[in-house]
Symmetry: C2
Subunit: 244 residues, 2 copies
């Protein structure tokens, strides 16, 4: 009875095995991997398959290959570590869950910074959707989305009942709209009109504000989302590799 299970290609199996060994410390950082011809013999595959696996590990940052010397272990790459992507996180957050409460939905004129990032005239009508996330009973984020009306049309984005899935999945399923990348702009500022009430902070407490735009693959800005967090409660983390 032949197995119906998915079999990864050979090169992927070599990647997984070498990665496992690196993670388990069999090949510690700084050590040299077996040579290509040794791996060919060990895994009983062609050299091209081994090379492909090693190139993939190098591209991911696990190893470095040096011409004439061998392949050397770097260890778990930096990009494998936890990195917060606040814009994406809020777009994947279902509203209909504990700790999230929808506070405002409606058509509003575009505030100046939002109009600017969306390339619209100031005051242009946008569908706004705003919610508060709380953690341990404390408001932790105020999220405001601004959608152009033609994008919101035919969706539930203008309705005041909480979405059971995140905005991203909703747009994907209702409008077959795919977000290709997100641009975020971070700044620190003081709270404006109703933010002290919604976030339960003082009117002179510093806030971290992220104004993000979601873009399609042609780079067109689809919509904007602002995330406002009390500065004393939050740290955003980012890790990046340093080129030579």
């Amino acid at each position: 009875m032949p197995s119906l299970e998915f079999e990864p290609p050979k090169y992927a199996r070599v990647v997984l095995e070498l990665r496992r060994r690196i993670e388990e410390g069999q090949y510690p950082p700084g050590s040299m991997l077996p040579s290509e011809s040794q791996l060919v013999r060990e895994f009983a595959v062609g050299r091209t398959t081994v090379v492909r696996a090693l190139q993939m590990l190098q591209q991911e940052g696990w190893i470095v290959r040096e011409h004439g010397r061998g392949s050397f272990v770097k260890g778990r790459p930096a990009s494998e570590r936890e990195v917060t992507r606040p814009g994406l996180a809020v777009l994947d957050q279902p509203e209909a869950r504990d700790g999230v409460s929808l506070v405002q939905v409606g058509t509003v004129p575009a505030p100046s910074p939002v109009a600017a990032v969306l390339g619209l005239a100031e005051g242009a009508s946008l569908v706004m959707r705003r919610w508060v996330s709380t953690r341990d009973g404390i408001p932790s984020e105020l999220v405001t989305c601004w959608f152009p009306p033609e994008l919101a049309y035919g969706t539930d984005l203008g309705s005041d009942s909480p979405l059971p899935v995140g905005v991203r999945a909703h747009l994907r399923s209702v409008r077959q709209l795919r977000i290709d990348h997100i641009a975020e702009r971070l700044t620190a500022r003081l709270p404006d009109a109703d933010e002290p009430t919604l976030l339960q902070v003082g009117s002179s407490d510093p806030l971290l504000s992220i104004l993000a735009t979601a873009h399609d693959a042609t780079d067109a800005a689809l919509f904007a989302v602002e995330i406002v967090m009390p500065g004393t409660l939050h740290e955003l983390e980012d890790v990046y590799s340093v080129p030579d």
Copy 2:
């Protein structure tokens, strides 16, 4: 007379040419590239070479390859756009240039957040180096580095004359120390003791604060650097791709 100029490998030349065509609009986003066998004939190379070039373009985000359908142009990938890396930028900034003034150098006890990210006891002695960057006559950044003494030993990091190269290059040349990755932690806060004076801001103006650690390839934290900026003057930008 044979040319001594560097000739890129064939696959690289295919990458460069296809990339050029995408950038010049010959293959606009959404359009389909010529098939592999067409490219084989056009570039007079083997199929493996074409495949390697296309895989590279896909890995970089310029195209997407669909099994049985062809290769489709996405356009200039998000990661190709300008992204600020404040931690790296200040480490590559020579001090001995216009707009940078060294304000403090010496051995100090480690402040609590710095000790925490470096895995040291609070109050442990560190070599501190602090400078102010100004832009158009206005202070824009206050940068403070904290080096463990054994790392600063034998370098000019404890001296009060401005470095002619950035800290990263200095450590590389004097100690053969390579920074593998940088971790940044962003938060918003109010100014502390001498920051209002150094940055010429009010004592209740919100600041953007980045506490960064530089790590070697084994993930050990080498040293810390804090960058403080007036929140009203700065926007940090980040762009990232969104997975399916």
